[in-house]
Amino acid sequence: MDGFPILSLMMAVPMAGAIACLFAGANNARWIALIATLVDLVLGVVLWINFDQSGAGAQWQFTEYAPIFGRFAWALGIDGIALLLIALTVFLMPICIGASWNAINKRVGEYMAAFLFMEVLMIGVFTAQDLYLFYIMFEAGLIPMYLIIGIWGGANRIYASYKFFLYTLLGSVLMLIAMMWMVHEAGTTRIPDLMAYNFDPKIQIWLFLAFFASFAVKMPMWPVHTWLPDAHVQAPTAGSVILAGVLLKMGGYGFIRFSLPMFPEASAQLAPWVWGLSMVAVVYTSLIALVQSDMKKLIAYSSVAHMAIVTIGLFAFNQAGLEGAMMVMLGHGLVSGALFLCVGVIYDRLHTREINRYGGLAINMPRYAVLFLLFTMASVGLPGTSNFVGEFLSLMGIYQVSTWAALICTTGIILGAAYMLYLYRRICYGDQVNADAAAMPDLSAREIWLLAPIAAAVLWMGVYPESFLAPMRPDIRALEARLAPAAPAGDSQIKMGAPKPAGEGHHEEAAAHGEAH
């Protein structure tokens, strides 16, 4: 594979598809989009197979470099972290196209073009090795998403599209200023070089905050998460899937690629604040999710809670936490995507997202109930499913640094079980009170084909996570080594007590002493 520009090809295929879709009729556009995304999926598999997971070779693989833009370059390359997120993207995209097959029937060509363009940009974000190229890809994603929400969204779509656009734009522009400063300081736009550059710790705080503004909004972290429920609720099903599945991961990717390795000291100093925000997010948004009457809103709030587990893992500064954060991102990408698809399935039939309008679907839609149960359990973090691995590792990582943060965030798992099981009970169990809901047909073959691959991936990740941990392990190790000098000390250090002289101490006292340690 040496020298073959597979990454550029992965971006060229959907780009060509997008242009073709603009000029094609509705049905042709659907097929063009499906074929383009499937070709990209195949390319993604080829990429994974050829990726050197041993960690013995270079960290950055499949690199391409073409200085065609003057001040910045078309510089691409991936490590294990990027590989996994690209795999997630190309895996979800054909499913998104399939989910829109019948649901979208006006302006199909433009819709498919927007999605394919989105795929180009997402792959671009994860492969860019040039700071400015990354920014351009990162920011350009606003355009197709704005159009997707605004044209094909729900009743309140215009408000949601503005809020999405302006919120994320405001977050990002400050990051751009910080990037300019860094490039002038370090004299390079190459991301790998910047990751190794040591910025002055005093300046790092400012740079960190500027990047944080962008990634925290994208992530989204409490209290700048408010755009997400609006965007999710109003977006069409596939838009929600890609938003929750991949776009939110750009925030996490930003932390792991930029904030942590480029500003380790600032990250360590501000880590308690990040833990604080994450703890609030886990508890607060879980409680909000508990009282939602709109299915999509409920899942949107659960996304915020899950993303807080990601940040808590990232800012644990150890291998378990970082790997856990990545696994939660991947797992959540699959599971929340699948949950939005599940919502979409019944929304397509009844055209309402009100939970109360459903009930007892396990009776007339048994296949649906089984798959929905699987994804509900995965979202709760049941062992054997993808999210368990990630959440467990994240919480294990944070436990080594802050037992309090671990304690509070773990309640999120319990609350998560509460709201998800409550949702499932109201939709699938109980009496069939609504006649129209009771008359809904079970999953069609197309819908099964959309959900089954995700179900398989969720189980694979839960049962044999090593397949997903192996590619990123060398990169996580390298990151941990980079962070080690700055990493905050844990609050549960084992201290050796001074032994009392034999015979003097009481037995009870010694026992109490031991407990305190």
Binding site: G70, R107, E139, L166
Partner: protein, 478 residues
């Protein structure tokens, strides 16, 4: 005694003057029937003048004992000016034909304005500057009221004339102060006199000169003429005002600030920073409530001028290069946007300019809507469109010059500006269709629109070229 080298250095102006006079005669004797011929001949004259730029630099950089410069900076600016002026001529006929004002004088006036603008950007002396400025302004006043039977157009011309004369007066007063305190009207003479410290009188002169020039680029707080003139003037004239004279005035501002007032850099830097931030903020906020797209473009131009000034505020060669790059990209966006706006005609071919009439355009005119969206996203500074790169360059220069706070404020306010550009896209793409437009646009309009859109989408490939040209232009000032 006039040297041949000096004459060759101003060859573009000579070509335009000669052809302008000839075209005037053709227009006088040919009447309205000659309009199309005059238009095309005027474009050819601009093209010839543009080609002659290649040779004029060889005879520079100083001509007529320093009254005129023929350096890389003037060549860069003139190339933009002639291009924009040519586009303004090509875009006009359909509009004027619909309004019953298809007259050959339009192209002639634009050619005369182009001569004035060329003199502005190549001035080496306050007096050349003033003559060039007035030449451009007089042609512009007439152009603004070109549809003389239209009340709004006449009003625009009158307003422009009254306020423009006031600004010229302020500028002249500043020039006289500078002359009185430095003993020179030549840019280099003023710079030498200011080299030993800036006296109170020189400072006053500087403030008045900058105020006069700020009027010409329509920067806050000297912007108040812009919305009325943009709205009242015939749309092709608005397209012209928004592009070529902006480049000329900005070039003039940059040249005066760097060449003549360079030693007083710290003094004018504060003024420029204030004017830049005020323009960005005001241009963004005031545009939000507009219902006419022409008025909106007026506020958008105020907003853009603010961004361009951020580069000048840096005061470095990189900053000047960034400002000039900004103007190049801005001109392409403006011409493209107006090529779209000129296609806003109802089913009977009558021009409309309300934003509401754009509703649901994407369902009937896909190409036009896509172009509109491209230009609006680009003006909002959203990558991967080229408008982002313009903003990037000026803010990058500001950051490099340690004006990080200015850059942070400016870019944060650009988010406010993004809102009203988004509003247009929302109207076109999200809203239910309003009364349909004319089914097809004119060929020339479509070609110019498509060409501009291609530059805006694939502009990053031009980066090496643009960097080189603007850096050379900036280097010739320092």
């Amino acid at each position: 005694m006039i040297e041949t080298a000096s004459l060759l250095a101003v060859l573009p102006e000579l070509i335009l003057t000669g052809s302008g006079l000839v075209l005037m005669l053709i227009a006088a004797f040919g009447g309205d029937r000659s309009t199309h011929a005059v238009n095309w001949l005027a474009v050819l004259a601009l093209l010839a003048a543009g080609l002659s730029l290649c040779t004029s630099m060889a005879h520079g950089p100083v001509a007529f004992d320093g009254l005129v410069r023929a350096d890389a900076f003037s060549v860069y600016a003139k190339a933009l000016i002639y291009g924009a002026a040519g586009a303004a001529i090509l875009l006009a006929p359909r509009f004027f034909a619909a309004g019953g004002a298809l007259r050959p004088e339009y192209a002639v006036l634009i050619v005369f304005a182009a001569i004035g603008m060329g003199m502005m950007v190549s001035a080496g002396d306050m007096l050349t500057l003033y003559v060039g400025l007035e030449m451009n302004s007089l042609a512009s006043y007439v152009l603004a009221s070109f549809m003389r039977q239209d009340e709004k157009s006449s009003e625009a011309g009158l307003k422009y004339f009254v306020l423009g004369s006031l600004a010229s007066g302020i500028l002249l007063y500043g020039i006289s102060l500078l002359y009185g305190f430095t003993g020179s009207t030549a840019f280099d003479g003023i710079a030498i006199a200011m080299g030993d410290g800036v006296s109170k009188g020189e400072l006053f002169g500087l403030v008045f000169v900058l105020a006069g020039l700020a009027f010409k680029i329509s920067a806050v707080p000297f912007h108040m003429w812009t919305p009325d003139v943009y709205e009242g003037a015939p749309t092709p004239v608005t397209a012209f005002f928004g592009s070529a004279p902006k480049v000329a005035a900005m070039g003039l501002m940059v040249r005066v600030a760097i060449e003549a007032l360079g030693p007083a850099g710290l003094d004018w830097q504060q003024i420029i920073i204030f004017v830049a931030l005020a323009s960005i903020l005001f241009g963004a906020v005031a545009a939000i409530g507009q219902t006419s797209i022409k008025r909106l473009m007026a506020y958008s131009s105020i907003n853009n001028v603010g961004f361009a000034l951020v580069g000048l505020a840096a005061g470095t060669p990189a900053g000047v290069a960034a400002t000039m790059s900004y103007m190049a990209i801005y001109v392409v966006m403006t011409i493209g946007a107006f090529a779209c706006i000129l296609q806003m005609r109802d089913a009977d071919g009558k021009p409309v300019d309300t934003i509401a009439s754009l509703a649901g355009l994407s369902q009937s005119r896909k190409g036009l809507s896509a172009a509109f969206a491209i230009f609006m996203f680009s003006m909002a500074g959203i990558p991967p469109l080229f408008g982002f790169w313009a903003k990037f360059l000026v803010f990058d220069a500001a950051v490099a010059a340690n004006l990080t706070a200015l850059a942070a404020f400016g870019i944060a306010m650009s988010v406010i500006g993004a809102f009203y550009y988004l509003k247009i896209i929302k109207t076109i793409y999200f809203d239910e269709p309003a009364a349909p437009y004319e089914a097809k646009g004119g060929a020339v309009e479509n070609i110019i629109m498509a060409a501009c859109a291609i530059v805006i989408v694939f502009g990053y490939l031009l980066n090496p070229l643009l960097d080189k040209a603007s850096a050379a232009a900036a280097a010739s000032l320092f």
